[in-house]
Amino acid sequence: MFPASFDYVAAHSVEEALQLMAKHGEEGKLLAGGHSLLPAMKLRLAAPRVLIDLATVPGLSDIRVDGKNLVIGALTVHADIAGSELVRKHLPGLADAASVIGDVQVRNRGTIGGSVAHADPAADLPVILTALDASFVVQSANGRHTFAADDFFTDFYTTAMNANEILTEIYLPMPPSGTGTAYAKLPHPASGYVVVSAGALITKQASGTCAAARVAIGGLGSGPIRAIATEMEMQGKPLTPQTIAAAAAKAAEETDPMEDSYASADYKRHVATVYARKAIEAALERARN
């Protein structure tokens, strides 16, 4: 299988990539690792006339600490996130998610920026990044600005980014001590994509009560959904198994998942409560250490 013909241009800086985007308009498409875009092009679901390669732009694949944030370049591949000492130390839930995407070969090519910009409703990273309260840094000819994760994933395969913007970095606040993060996923047995998944960030006070909780669920809608009712149920309470069970039971509240050939809507809603509990329990276990 071949993609439809296209022209290829390698960008060597973000500024050059922005100029190329302006020049080619709707006919241009940014290429990162290509592990969402190229399969779509081979199936002729996408047929851009010009591919603007970002992988040739230096400096977009670093993982670094900036003040109270962990910063991940948009071109960082999943394998490097899964194996990063910084990520495993500060936000192991992100390493969990990066390590269960696709397979080894896919993780060696697919990028975090490509994944979130593609915004597949069955992707892993949007879910954990929402739970971790990520900020997405974009550049355009007008400068830089950021989107909060809660505002970023707006619909199926759709983000809040404008067509003239490039996602360059993802900022992740490093949580206070007493915090644990985790990701739990029910993969589709054939494709490995998310059927339902959950990301959790739990901050526990010395007394054992919940100081902060963010829980996001994947697979129930057009993108990650914050489980606000689950978070509220835990807030300020002792994090006992009973509290966690009651909170997780609310993980699918006010959702209306689409039925598909593998899972009914009721099944997805039920599995969401199970995986929310798994993610919360794993996050809490890490908060203890």
Binding site: F2, F6, L31, L38, D53, A79, G102, D103, V104, Q105
Partner: protein, 164 residues
């Protein structure tokens, strides 16, 4: 194909199994076809052609990748290693030996990809557990005979490589 190209060919320089190749490729040329058709390296197989099966696995700058989902232009300036680059003269790579010793293949179609992924694993983890081998080979499908002998082949190779 080149004669029908709508867009200009792009110059690429790719080092494959230690030999530098300069070529003009149509932008939509996939790395696996560049290897097979431009360079005649047909050991890398096209299986599903949809990044599922792993038969096309090669190493790109030392990492296992599915070459049906990489454009040749994305490999510009890179080092590629294919199944043809593993043996040293008449001496097989230990993973190739392992697949022979433990009967890790039946029809052989998936074998080059299996071996390239296993080599990538053992270069990063010389003493993998059975679970780690299974996790590493998740992206490689065998439709003949199952995975038991394949896992034993990788274990055999790991032991041989550890002994040097």
């Amino acid at each position: 194909m080149t004669a029908e190209a709508e867009y200009p060919a792009v110059a690429v320089s790719v080092t494959v199994n230690g030999i530098k190749h300069d070529a003009l490729v149509e932008p939509r040329t996939l790395l696996v076809y560049f290897l097979r058709e431009n360079l005649g390296l047909t050991g890398t197989h096209v299986g599903c052609d949809t990044s599922q099966c792993g038969a096309c696995t090669v190493h790109l700058n030392g990492r296992a990748v599915k070459s049906c989902t990489v454009l040749a232009v994305q490999a510009n300036g890179a080092h590629v290693r294919t199944i043809e680059g593993l043996a040293n003269g008449d001496n097989f790579h230990p993973v190739q030996e392992g697949f022979r010793e433990k009967h890790g293949l039946q029809c052989g179609y998936c074998t080059p990809g299996m071996i390239m992924t296993a080599v990538h694993l053992l270069e990063n983890n010389p003493n993998p557990s059975e679970e780690e081998i299974k996790h590493a080979l998740e992206g490689n499908l065998c439709r003949c005979t199952g995975y038991v002998n394949i896992i034993e082949s990788v274990e055999w190779a790991a032991e041989k490589m550890r002994k040097g």
